[in-house]
Amino acid sequence: MIHTIVYGFTIGAILYFIAIGLSVTFGMMRVINFAHTLTYTLGVYMLISLAALFKGYFVIAAMIAVIVVIPISYLIERYIIRRLYGESLDHTFIATFAVALIGVDTIKWIWGVSPYPLSDPIGKYLMFWGLTLPIYRIVIFMIAILLFIGLEFFFRKTIVGKIVVAALEDKDGVGCLGIDVDKYFSIVFMMGSALAALGGVLYAPISSVHPYMGLSILLLCFAVVIVGGMGNLRGTFVSAVTLGMVMAVTARYWSQGAETMVFIVMAIVLIFRPIDI
C-alpha cells in the first residue's frame, strides 16, 4: 500500500509539471497548446543524447536538456501561437498539433523510431520497516513539492507572477494598465515548456521513451486541467496528485487500465460540473 501511495505521488508530480504550463497557457491566452507534447518529448531525447555525452552526470545532462528546450518553445510561441491570438481555438489547436506532428517526425528522423532504454539514475533503494522504495521516486516528489512552493511564491510575491495571475482573471484589464500582456505571456509560455521538459526528463527513466510518448501524457494532463479547472493553479496541483493516485491505485489491481480510469474520472467530473470552455 505504501508503494502505491509513493507511486501515485510520483505520477501526480509528473502530471503537475506538465499540466501547469497547459493550464496557464489556456487560462491566460485561451490557447490549447498541443506542441506541449513536443517540448516534453524533446526534453527527453535531449537528455538521451546529453546523458551519453556527460556520462554519469545525470543532473547536468537533465539541466542542459531542459534549458535547450526553452529557445525552441520561444520559436513556437513567436512564430506560430502569437499569430493566432484571439482567433478561434480550433485554429491554434490545429496549428500546434501540426507543429507537434512536424516535431515528432524530426525526432524520428534524428533519433529513430525504436524505444530507448533509460535506467533509474540513482538506482538505490530506501529500506525501512521492511519496505523497499526507489529513492528516485521520492526525489521526484520532493522536487514537485519544492516546485509547487516555488511557483506559489512566484505567482504571489514576484511582479511577473502577479501580472500573470491578474491576467488570468482579466487580460484586458491588465492590458489597460499599460502592461504588455503578450510579453509576460511569452515568459510564462517558455516557463511552462521548460517545466514540461523537466517532467519528461524526470519521468523518462521510469517510463518508456519513444517518439509518441507525448500524446498519452498530454491527454492525461488535459484531464488534470479539466478536473482542476483551467487556469486554476492550486486546483491543478490538487487534481494532478489526485489523478496520480487514481492511476496508481488502478494500476495495482488492473495495470493496463490506469489511464482509462483517469478519463472515466474526468468524464464523471464533466457530468457534474459543466464548464464553458
Binding site: L84, A98, L101, I102, D105, I226, T260, P274, D276, I277
Partner: protein, 342 residues
C-alpha cells in the same frame, strides 16, 4: 416558472417540418448527387477501381467529420473512435452472429451511433478545445480497449479477419460490385446530408456554429440538436468503418488509432470545411497525396504538418473556398470591364 410563455413561430413548431426541404431544392440536391456520381465514375479510369473504392470510403468518413466541424463548428479530434467502433462491431458481428453483409453493416452503423449517443451526452456540452480533447481522450480509451483490454476477442495488434460471406450478388471480392455498393452508400450519405444541411435543422446547427447562446434565446434546445448531429456524425463515421470491414475484410487497431484523426481533419480543412463538396474534394486530395507520398517518403507526416500550417495561416476556407474566391474575383474584374490579369 411564471410569466408569459414564449411561443416559437408556428412554422417551426412541428418536429416533422424540421427536416423538410422545398421540392425545388430537393430536385437540385438530386442533380448535385448525380454530379458527384459522375465525378467518381470519371475517377475510375484515371486511377484504379480499387483505389476509387477506398477513396469513396474515406470520403464518407470526411463527410461525417464535416457535418460536425464544418456545419456545427465543433472540432472533434476523436472521430476515429466511431470509425473504429463501426469496424470492430461489424467484424465481431459477422464472426459471431451473422455473416450477412447487409446485417453486418446495419449492426456496425447502429453500434457507432449508440456509442456516439452515449458519449455525446457528455461531450456535446463542451465546446472548442475541450470538445476536441475530450473526444481525443475517449478515442484513446477506445484504442486501449480494442488494442489491449479485450485482446482475447479482438486479437489486439495482430488484427482479425472478418467473417462476412457473399450474399446473393453482393460479393465484396468482386471489384465492380464493391465499387458500385460503396458508390451507392456514398451517394445516399451525400444526399441525406445535403438535404439535412439545407433543411431548417441545418440552419439551426449552422447558427449554433455562429452563436450558440442566440440560438438558445430563440427557444431551441441546442443540446438536443448538438446531440443529434453528434449521433448522425458518429453513425456516418461508423458506416465508413463497416465499409472498410466489408471491403478490406481484415481489421487491426490502426483503424481506431487516435493519431489518425489528423488525416480526416486535414482532408476536411484542405477541401474546405462547411461544404460537402469540400469534404469530397479534400478526401480525394488527401488520399492521392497519401498514396503518392507514402510510397516515396517514409516519414511523410511532416509534410502534412506543414500543409496544415499553410491552411491555418493562409487557406482557411480550403481549396473549394479558394476556388469560389477566385471565380468571384475574376467575375468582378470582368464585370468592371477590366482584363482579369491586372
Amino acid at each position: 416558472m411564471g410569466g408569459t410563455k414564449i411561443e416559437r413561430p408556428s412554422s417551426l413548431n412541428k418536429n416533422s417540418d424540421l427536416f423538410e426541404v422545398a421540392p425545388a431544392k430537393r430536385t437540385r440536391v438530386l442533380l448535385e448527387t448525380g454530379l458527384v456520381m459522375a465525378a467518381f465514375l470519371i475517377l475510375v479510369p484515371v486511377l484504379a477501381i480499387y483505389r476509387v473504392t477506398e477513396f469513396m470510403i474515406f470520403c464518407i468518413f470526411v463527410l461525417s467529420f464535416d457535418l460536425l466541424y464544418g456545419y456545427m463548428g465543433r472540432l472533434s479530434f476523436g472521430q476515429m473512435l466511431y470509425l473504429g467502433t463501426g469496424v470492430y462491431v461489424s467484424t465481431l458481428f459477422s464472426l459471431h452472429v451473422n455473416p450477412n453483409p447487409v446485417l453486418t453493416m446495419l449492426a456496425g452503423v447502429l453500434g457507432g451511433a449508440i456509442v456516439a449517443g452515449l458519449l455525446g451526452l457528455i461531450i456535446v456540452r463542451l465546446a472548442d478545445a475541450s470538445f476536441a480533447l475530450t473526444n481525443l481522450a475517449f478515442n484513446q480509451v477506445g484504442f486501449f480497449l480494442i488494442g489491449s483490454a479485450f485482446q482475447e476477442v479482438t486479437h489486439g495488434e495482430d488484427g482479425i479477419s472478418s467473417g462476412v460471406e457473399p450474399w446473393g450478388f453482393l460479393d465484396f471480392a468482386n471489384e465492380p460490385v464493391a465499387f458500385v455498393f460503396v458508390l451507392v452508400c456514398l451517394l445516399v450519405t451525400f444526399y441525406i446530408l445535403k438535404v439535412l444541411t439545407n433543411s431548417p435543422y441545418g440552419i439551426i446547427i449552422r447558427s449554433i456554429k455562429e452563436d450558440e447562446s442566440r440560438v438558445r434565446f430563440l427557444g431551441y434546445s441546442t443540446f438536443y440538436y448538438k446531440w443529434l448531429t453528434f449521433v448522425i456524425a458518429g453513425g456516418v463515421a461508423a458506416l465508413a468503418g463497416t465499409l472498410y470491414t466489408l471491403y478490406i475484410q481484415f481489421v487491426s487497431p490502426v483503424s481506431i488509432h487516435p493519431l489518425s484523426n489528423v488525416e480526416v481533419i486535414f482532408a476536411c480543412l484542405i477541401g474546405g470545411a462547411g461544404n460537402l463538396y469540400g469534404a469530397l474534394a479534400g478526401g480525394v486530395f488527401f488520399m492521392t497525396l497519401k498514396d503518392n507520398l507514402a510510397t516515396h517518403i517514409p516519414e511523410w507526416e511532416w509534410i502534412l504538418g506543414i500543409l496544415l500550417l499553410v491552411i491555418v495561416f493562409w487557406l482557411r476556407r480550403g481549396l473549394t473556398g479558394f476556388a469560389t474566391f477566385l471565380i468571384g474575383f475574376l467575375r468582378q474584374k470582368i464585370a468592371r470591364g477590366q482584363p482579369a490579369e491586372a
